[in-house]
C-alpha cells in the first residue's frame, strides 16, 4: 500500500514543480503589473490598476502595438497561400529534392535567429527597403513559414486520398476538386498554422530589432527600449496584455479547429 502512495507523492511533486517552473515568469509578470508602487516588484506592493490606466494613455505603446499587428497581418496573409500550397504538395506528391525541402523545414530550429536576422537585414538593406514596416512582416513570414507548412501538411496527410478521387468521380475537374474538397479538408491545418504564424509574428523581437528604425519600432522592440532606460510596472502591464492576446489566440484556435474536427465525420 505504501509503495503506490510514495510513488504518487513523487509524481505529484514532480508535476507541480514543472508547472510552477513553466508558469513562474507569467505569474510574476501578472502579479507585478497590479502593483500600486512605483517599482516593478513581486509580490506587488498593494493592488492597483493604475499601470493599466497609464499604458492605456501611452500613445507610443499603442502605436507600436498597431505596428506589430500590421506586420503580423502581412506575415499571415503571405503565409496562408504559400504555406497551404507547399504543405499540400509535400504531403501528397512525390517531390524532387524532398530531403532538401525537409532540411529547409528544420531551419527555424537549427539556424540562430540572429543569423537569419542579419541575413535578412543585408538583403533588405541592399534592396533599400529598411525603415519600412512591411518588410518586417515578410521577414518574419520567411523565417516562420515552416510552422505553417507543417500544420497544413499534417492535415493533408490525414486526409482520405479517396476524397479527391470521389470528387473526380462526381465530375469535378482537378481545380474544382482542389477548391471544393482539398482546401476544406486541410482547413484545420490552415487555421492552426495561420494563427500560429500570427502569434509568432506579433511576438517577434530579434528580427524586428534588426529591420526597424526608431520611427517604426514594433511593440516588443518598444518594450525592450523602455527597459534599457528605466524598469517601471507599466512594462509588466504591457506584457500582460501581450499574454492576454496569446491566450485569446489559443482560445480561438481551440474553438475553430476544435469545431472543424467536430465537423469531420469522426
Amino acid at each position: 500500500m505504501t509503495a503506490p502512495r510514495s510513488k504518487s507523492i513523487v509524481l505529484w511533486t514532480f508535476v507541480i514543480s514543472v508547472l510552477v517552473l513553466l508558469s513562474a515568469p507569467t505569474i510574476v509578470v501578472i502579479g507585478a503589473s497590479f502593483t500600486s508602487g512605483n517599482m516593478i516588484a513581486f509580490p506587488p506592493e498593494g493592488l492597483s490598476l493604475k499601470w493599466y490606466a497609464k499604458i492605456a494613455q501611452a500613445t507610443e505603446l499603442w502605436d507600436a502595438f498597431l505596428r506589430s499587428l500590421y506586420a503580423a497581418a502581412i506575415c499571415t496573409i503571405i503565409a496562408i497561400p504559400a504555406g497551404t500550397l507547399a504543405g499540400i504538395a509535400l504531403a501528397k506528391y512525390p517531390i524532387r529534392f524532398a530531403t532538401s525541402v525537409q532540411m529547409y523545414l528544420l531551419l527555424p530550429f537549427t539556424i540562430p535567429l540572429i543569423g537569419s536576422g542579419i541575413g535578412l537585414m543585408l538583403v533588405f538593406g541592399e534592396a533599400r527597403l529598411l525603415g519600412q514596416l512591411w518588410p518586417v512582416g515578410v521577414a518574419v513570414c520567411v523565417i516562420n513559414l515552416p510552422f505553417m507548412i507543417w500544420a497544413v501538411s499534417a492535415s493533408a496527410a490525414s486526409l482520405d486520398p479517396d476524397l479527391e478521387l470521389a470528387a473526380a468521380n462526381c465530375g469535378a475537374p482537378p481545380l474544382s476538386t482542389f477548391i471544393h474538397v482539398t482546401i476544406p479538408g486541410v482547413m484545420p491545418g490552415i487555421i492552426s498554422g495561420s494563427l500560429l504564424m500570427f502569434i509568432l509574428a506579433l511576438n517577434e523581437f530579434l528580427v524586428s530589432l534588426l529591420l526597424v528604425d526608431a520611427r517604426i519600432v514594433t511593440l516588443p522592440v518598444q518594450i525592450y527600449n523602455s527597459i534599457r532606460s528605466i524598469i517601471t510596472p507599466d512594462l509588466a502591464a504591457v506584457s500582460v496584455v501581450f499574454v492576454a492576446c496569446a491566450v485569446a489566440a489559443v482560445f480561438l484556435l481551440d474553438r475553430l479547429v476544435g469545431l472543424e474536427i467536430f465537423l469531420k465525420s469522426k
Partner: protein, 381 residues
Amino acid sequence: MPREQGRDVEAMRESRPVLVSVNDVSMAYNGAYAVRSASFDLERGRFLTILGPSGSGKTTLLRLIAGFGRATSGEIFINGQPVSAVPPHKRSIGMVFQRLALFPHLTAAENVAFPLKMRRHDATTIAGKVTRFLELVKLGGLGGRRIHELSGGQQQRVAIARALVFEPDLLLLDEPLAALDRKLREDMQLEFRRIQRELGVTTINVTHDQREALVMSDEVIVMDAGKIQQKARPAETYRNPRNAFVANFIGVTGFVEGTATSVSGGLVRMSHGNVELAGIMAGDAAPPRIGQSLVGAIRAEQVRIAADRRQLGGLDTIVTGEIAEAIFEGERIVYEVRVAALGGVILRVFDHDPAEHSQFEPGAHVSLGWNASDVRLYGMD
C-alpha cells in the same frame, strides 16, 4: 425514311447491348502484375460482381474502369468508346467507395448535390433531384444532417445517392459493405439490389464475400492472382466451378485426390489407394489420360453422414471416417470428418437439424456417402 433509320439505330442498340468491354487489360506495378490479361463484356442493366481474395486484383480492375490510373496494356471500352485517355471526371461513372469518401464538411443533401453542381445544373433541378434520390435511398428528411450525424447505414445510403444522382451509365461499388456488421450488411445487400433494379443501372460490385456475390449478382467473375478464373451466373459458378480455386473459394468444399483408372461417357473413375472414387470432369475440360492425377471437389451439403454405412444405401461412394470436430453454428452443425483411407483428408458435412443434441461426438466412427455426379474433377498440373 428517317423513321426507318431510327428503327435501325434502335435495332443496333438492341443487338449491341454491351456497355462495358474490358479487353486484355493488364496492370503492373514495378514489374509485378496486379491484373493480368483481364477480358470480359458486361451487358447494359446487368449487376456484375467481381469476387476474389484480397490481393486478387479486383479493386485494381475496378479503379481502372473508374479512371484512377492507367492500364499497363489493354483497353477498356464504355459504350463502344475507348476510355483510357478519358479522365475520371469526364466518365459518366458513379462510384461508392470502400470508406465511402463522403465529403465531411458538407451535409447529406450537399453531398448528393455535389455531382450536379459540378455538372452545372440549375438550382431548381438540383433541389428536385436531391430530394428524389434521398427518398430513393429512404433518407427523406435527413438531408440537412452532417455526415457524422448519420449512422453507418445512413452514410451508405448517402454514398449510394451521391453515386446515382447524376444518372451515370455505370455504377461501381468498391466493397462498400465490408465494414458493416453482418445484419446491416445483409439488409444493405438487398437494398443495393432493389435500387439497382429500380433504376436499371449497370453495376460492377467488388467483394471478397462469396455470399454477397451470390445474393446480389446477375453474373459473377472470380479473380485470383490478377487473373479472371471464371465468369458465369451465380448458380452456374456455384454448381460448376471451372477450376479448383473457384471450387475452394465459393462454398464449403472437400477435396479428394486420386489417379484416373477409366473413362466411360462423362464419368471418370479414379482410385486413391484401395478406395474407388468417381466424378465428372469440370466445365469443358478434356477427358483425362489413364494414370493422370486428379482432384475431386465435393460440396459439404452433398455429403451424407451416418453411424452405419447401411443407412447410406443408394449412394455411389461410401467411405468411413472419424469425427475430428463438431462445430455448432446455430442453424446447423458442421462435422469435420477425418478419412484415413483418403490420406487423412478432412471432409466437412452439414447437419441441418441440430435442434436435438449433436448426434456425433469427436472421436466417433461414422460413414460418409455421396454421388459421383456431384463430384467435379480437376486435373492436377
